[in-house]
């Protein structure tokens, strides 16, 4: 009860903070306005980033490397299973974004992969020719509804986020993620909080394993790795909210288009 109250209070605080920040120009509440996402907590964010980097070097990266050495079928099966579970968050968000057709497709995908696909370890739906799966979350839905990103945040362990996306993540544990509800509050002998945390950890390890080389390469070739990751995260979220699969010039360059026109190479 107390846990829920604390979570609700944080959630309300985040959304209220978001709306207030919007009034002094740090937030964008309308889709077409120019966006400049401020790093209001940069000092703290950089410290959290350094902590996360230490944790990554000491624990997450070695585990991800070990995971990479597992047989392909195990890696693929794990990756498919955690992706299948993410449908449980994607489907309600498809509906909240008014995309009922995709919600129906994703529900069918979930049913097919969970049953014929052996608890999601085999992506049967993909083999059957279902459309490409695109993840959605509550942060994206808030963005679609016109809520601005708010300040940039680096969360301990979880990494880059914004005030809006963090509020979106809280929605998962406030009833928005059926997998969390079933695991933590489901009162059944097969699922528990431990199972939920393990599934989330596997998701993180799978992601890290996929990006071992690209993140190393980015770090090696960055003069400010923190700023590089911040830029890439914010660009990626913007593309996802606007459903731009390969980015659009309007989103990528925004007011910079004038800059590009102005710049000569002589």
């Amino acid at each position: 009860m107390l846990k829920k109250l604390i979570i609700t209070t944080i959630y309300i605080f985040l959304l209220a903070f978001n709306a207030n920040a919007g009034s002094d120009g740090e937030l964008v509440l309308k889709d077409n306005q120019q966006q400049e996402i401020k790093d209001c907590f940069e000092t703290l964010n950089r410290k959290t980033f350094a902590f996360n980097k230490g944790l990554d070097e000491a624990l997450i990266k070695p585990i991800a490397k070990g995971y990479r050495n597992l047989p392909d079928t195990i890696q693929k099966g794990t990756s498919n299973a955690v992706r299948n579970l993410s449908n449980l968050i994607t489907i309600p968000n498809n509906i909240l974004q008014g995309d009922v057709k995709t919600a129906i497709i994703n529900t069918s995908r979930l049913v097919v992969n969970t049953t014929i696909g052996l608890l999601g370890t085999v992506d049967v739906a993909n083999k059957m020719g279902f459309p490409k799966y695109v993840k959605e979350d509550y942060g994206q839905t808030l963005g679609k509804w016109g809520v601005g990103p708010g300040c940039y945040l680096v969360l301990p362990v979880l990494g880059p986020s914004t005030v809006r996306d963090t509020a979106g993540s809280f929605a998962n544990i406030m009833g928005g993620d059926p997998w969390y509800n079933a695991s933590v509050h489901g009162n059944n002998e097969f699922l528990s909080e431990g199972v939920y945390i393990t599934s989330k950890a596997l998701n993180g390890i799978d992601f890290r394993s996929d990006n071992l080389e690209s993140l190393d390469n980015l770090e090696k070739n960055s003069i400010d790795f923190y700023a590089s990751l911040r830029s890439l995260y914010l660009q990626d979220r913007e593309n996802k909210i606007k459903d731009n699969q390969r980015g659009s010039i309007e989103v990528i360059y925004k007011k910079d288009e004038e800059d590009w026109e102005e710049i000569e190479n002589k």
């Binding site: 080389e213 830029s231 660009q235």
Partner: protein, 194 residues
């Protein structure tokens, strides 16, 4: 006389179109050159050197450098500009070629292009998947002001702009040093030395 003017006009149009290089052809030929270098049986250092010379010919390093500076470019004096470009070119070539040298025999196929205006065309391409990674979409912002000599100004990988990332990185360094351009010079210099 009128006939002569028309003939000259048509001839001029024909010649300019005959000699201008289409942005998609330019990109395909550039990636083929890079791919050839990456598949050669030479050392990584040699590959980096060869990639640098391709980048010098095909990327508008000066333009990218200006863009990466953001509004700071407007307040630099001529000496600072020259120093910046010297440092930026070294930084850019090292960073760009080092990123590329990680790939072995990449297969990039140009798919389509979209003309934004007379100065810019976006060329869409795909880096073919391998057993270790999925297909990657790469778009190229090509500066076409001089159609005979198109130049690359940005790479957009899966919707993420490298030029914008670089600009925000530079801006972060300048902001945390009260806009002092010397702080950026120092960081660029150190990067190129290491």
């Amino acid at each position: 006389m009128k006939k002569l003017i028309i003939i000259l006009f048509l001839l001029n149009s024909y010649l300019s179109s005959a000699y201008s290089i289409q942005p998609d052809v330019f990109i395909q030929s550039t990636v083929n050159r890079a791919s050839d270098i990456l598949s050669k049986d030479i050392s990584k250092e040699e590959k980096i050197e060869e990639l640098k010379s391709v980048a010098k010919e095909t990327v508008d390093i000066r333009g990218v450098g200006f863009y990466s500076l953001g509004s700071t470019r407007k307040i630099l004096n001529d000496n600072q500009k020259e120093k910046y470009f010297e440092l930026f070119e070294n930084y850019f070539l090292k960073s760009f070629s080092s990123r590329l040298s990680e790939y072995t025999n990449p297969k990039i196929e140009v798919q389509s292009k979209k003309v934004i205006n007379k100065n810019y065309t976006i060329v869409n391409s795909v880096l073919a998947s391998t057993p270790n990674r999925p297909e990657v979409k790469i778009d190229w912002r090509v500066y076409t002001k001089n159609p005979d000599d198109p130049l690359i100004r940005d790479l957009i990988i899966e919707g993420l702009s490298l030029a914008r990332t670089q600009k925000e990185e530079f801006s972060s360094i300048l902001n945390s040093n009260e806009g002092d351009i010397n702080s950026l010079f120092k960081v660029l210099e150190e990067f190129s030395k290491n």
